[in-house]
């Protein structure tokens, strides 16, 4: 644990020194694709090994004791409507054949859609009140990342959740299995191209 006060600039400099390959992302320009998480120092890593090293470094050397959350975003593009069981129109009072009130999502040209699932790790420093966001792109098909369970035990179920809903494998996870969806469900529902397959509960 360091006793020196940590601020965003100091941390950014430390990152640049320790992980020169990692890219610190600044605030997005007006009208451009989302890159930075508002209020967080955002760092993108080229591979999982360095991300894991950074997590360990942040926790053990800099005192980032708290892992806020791990999340994932599938950047394939707008969601496939076949992934839903029900009609996308949530207004049950509309008569049959009425125009749906919902505009389905369409691709936005300024957004950097790509063939990747982005993992997002948020960490907090409880004393210095500083927050860091680490990002890692893994391929959508057969993508994998090292498990953070050795550093933060709380990664356990969060990684299983991402495995279940996105199909990203976490290497060296002691129990990487489905957690939220039922055993018979095939596929990973939060992927944008997920298609619902009819099962015995549909009718």
């Amino acid at each position: 644990m360091t006793t020196t006060t940590l601020d965003r600039e100091a941390l950014q400099a430390k990152f640049a020194e320790k992980f020169p390959e990692a890219e610190t992302i600044g605030a997005p320009a007006e009208g451009s694709a989302p890159t930075e998480l508002k209020g967080y120092l955002t760092v993108r890593f080229p591979d999982g090994e360095r991300l894991l090293a950074a997590l360990r470094w942040l926790k053990e050397d800099l005192g980032f004791a708290y892992l806020d959350m791990i999340s994932a975003v599938d950047w394939k593009g707008p969601v496939d409507i076949d992934g839903y069981i029900r009609d996308p129109n949530p207004n049950v009072f509309l008569p049959d054949g009425a125009t749906p009130q919902v505009q389905l999502p369409v691709a936005n040209k300024t957004v950097a859609y790509r063939d990747a699932v982005e993992l997002v790790y948020l960490l907090s420093h409880l004393d210095a009140k500083i927050k860091v966001c680490l990002k890692l792109d893994v391929p959508r098909d057969g993508g994998s990342a090292p498990s953070a369970i050795g550093v933060f035990k709380s990664a356990d179920w969060q990684e299983r959740e991402i495995f279940d809903l996105f199909g990203v494998a976490f290497l060296n996870h002691p129990n990487l299995s489905k957690i939220l969806t039922p055993d018979f469900l095939k596929g990973h529902p939060l992927r944008k191209d997920y298609k619902h397959q009819k099962d015995r509960f549909d009718d």
């Binding site: 997005p28 451009s32 694709a33 989302p34 890159t35 930075e36 998480l37 508002k38 209020g39 967080y40 004791a65 708290y66 892992l67 806020d68 959350m69 999340s71 994932a72 975003v73 599938d74 707008p78 969601v79 409507i81 992934g83 839903y84 996308p88 949530p90 919902v102 505009q103 389905l104 999502p105 369409v106 691709a107 936005n108 300024t110 957004v111 859609y113 997002v120 948020l122 907090s124 409880l126 009140k129 966001c133 933060f152 035990k153 709380s154 356990d156 179920w157 969060q158 959740e161 809903l165 489905k178 957690i179 939220l180 969806t181 039922p182 529902p189 939060l190």
Partner: protein, 376 residues
């Protein structure tokens, strides 16, 4: 005479037996299944199994408008639905750059704290039942009823309120609401003092909880605990102080912290939090500013500019967060809920090993989970 897991190792070797606790079991507080392997009455392996209540709200949000998502959010932690409304609105407002008027901010604080009281009251009552004390439940539900009546007056619902909306709150308070609320505060204060005699310092209750399920601060942080659970282990981490939102910085309150992180500490942290919440409610009632209750700039079909944000609040169960990504459409591109119950629950697989089977319910109850939030 704290018993540690090591002391509890089975002294006689006997056959192992597998027991299913749940999913339909009254003391699992919903549909949670724990696969327990026991040797005699000592647990040697515990596998929590969740997902029975998974409704896929994160996927549903991807084709629904932002106003519809507030409705979805009510269904996560249904005991603290105001908090869910709040955190989703905060995230969306951050993305859209909407300013919330002062009166709406304080109304939000008022509702959040009342909801925290209602949620902790339910914990207080059901935890008593888990341990075998039925009277506390009846007392707690009488008071909880009064809070729910207040909510019913203001938004028409006793659960799933949908009161906190993008840019502010749904409605101005009804005419006699403030008086009713002002009556409730002193009434509840008196009752709250009774709770300590009723349950907190009851010798049987103390025996069942004081020496059971101790979790140290380091371990609690490593497992990502938050909320009263973490604070009971001695870490004073509270989102309301760490990163004040919605004008919490204007109110004077303390963060109750426990000592050794036992079941009783977690229980008592919540009881003391009710006192603090009541303090905040009194302060809000004392100086509620006049003004609009809905901010400007929220469209009927709002679209957020492309961007990404994370908003977190101190829910009744811990650090409730929303990771919201927008690609400029009418619906969120991705909505991730950091659900405190989900993260608080995973420690069970380590914590239950070495404990007696009769303590399982005491430990599980003290973590205070809501399965609607675990499975989302």
């Amino acid at each position: 005479m704290t018993e540690t897991a090591a002391d509890n190792k089975p002294k006689l070797k006997s056959d192992q037996m597998f027991i299913n606790l749940g999913p339909q079991h009254p003391s699992t507080h919903g549909v949670l299944r724990i696969g327990l392997t026991i040797e005699g009455e000592i647990i040697v392996n515990a596998v929590p199994d969740v997902g029975y209540l998974h409704r896929g709200t994160e996927k549903l949000a991807e084709i629904r408008g932002y106003h519809h998502c507030v409705v979805l959010s009510d269904r996560w932690d249904y005991l603290n639905a105001m908090g869910n409304n709040m955190v989703f609105c905060m995230a969306a407002e951050k993305l859209m750059g909407v300013e919330v008027p002062e009166r709406a901010q304080q109304l939000r604080v008022l509702m959040l704290e009342l909801n925290r009281i209602a949620s902790h009251l339910l914990f207080f009552g059901t935890y008593g039942i888990d341990i075998g004390a039925f009277t506390a439940f009846l007392h707690a539900f009488r008071e909880r009823e009064m809070v729910l009546d207040l909510f019913e007056m203001v938004c028409g619902a006793r659960m799933t309120y949908n009161y906190i909306r993008l840019g502010g709150v749904m409605k101005e308070l009804p005419k006699e609401w403030l008086d009713r609320c002002r009556e409730f505060v002193p009434f509840f204060k008196k009752r709250l003092a009774e709770y300590d005699d009723l349950l907190s310092f009851n010798p049987i209750f103390l025996d069942r909880t004081k020496t059971v399920g101790a979790v140290g601060g380091k371990e609690a942080l490593a497992w990502g605990w938050s909320g009263p659970n973490l604070r009971a282990s001695g870490v004073p981490y509270d989102m309301r102080k760490f990163q004040p939102y919605s004008s919490y910085e204007k109110f004077d309150f303390e963060i109750p912290v426990g000592k050794d992180g036992s079941c009783w500490d977690r229980y008592y942290c919540r009881v003391r939090e009710m006192h603090e919440s009541l303090k905040i409610v009194e302060q809000v009632l004392g100086g509620l500013p006049e003004g609009p209750i809905l901010g400007k700039g929220v469209a009927k079909v709002p679209k957020a500019p492309p961007g990404e944000t994370y908003a977190a609040i101190e829910g009744a169960r811990g650090d409730l967060g929303i990771h919201l990504v927008s690609d400029g459409n009418m619906s969120p591109y991705r909505l991730h809920v950091k659900a405190p119950s989900f993260i608080n629950l995973q420690i069970l697989q380590e914590m239950l090993v070495g404990q007696k089977i009769s303590d399982v319910v005491a430990i599980l109850g003290s973590i205070d989970i809501v399965l609607g939030e675990v499975d989302r």
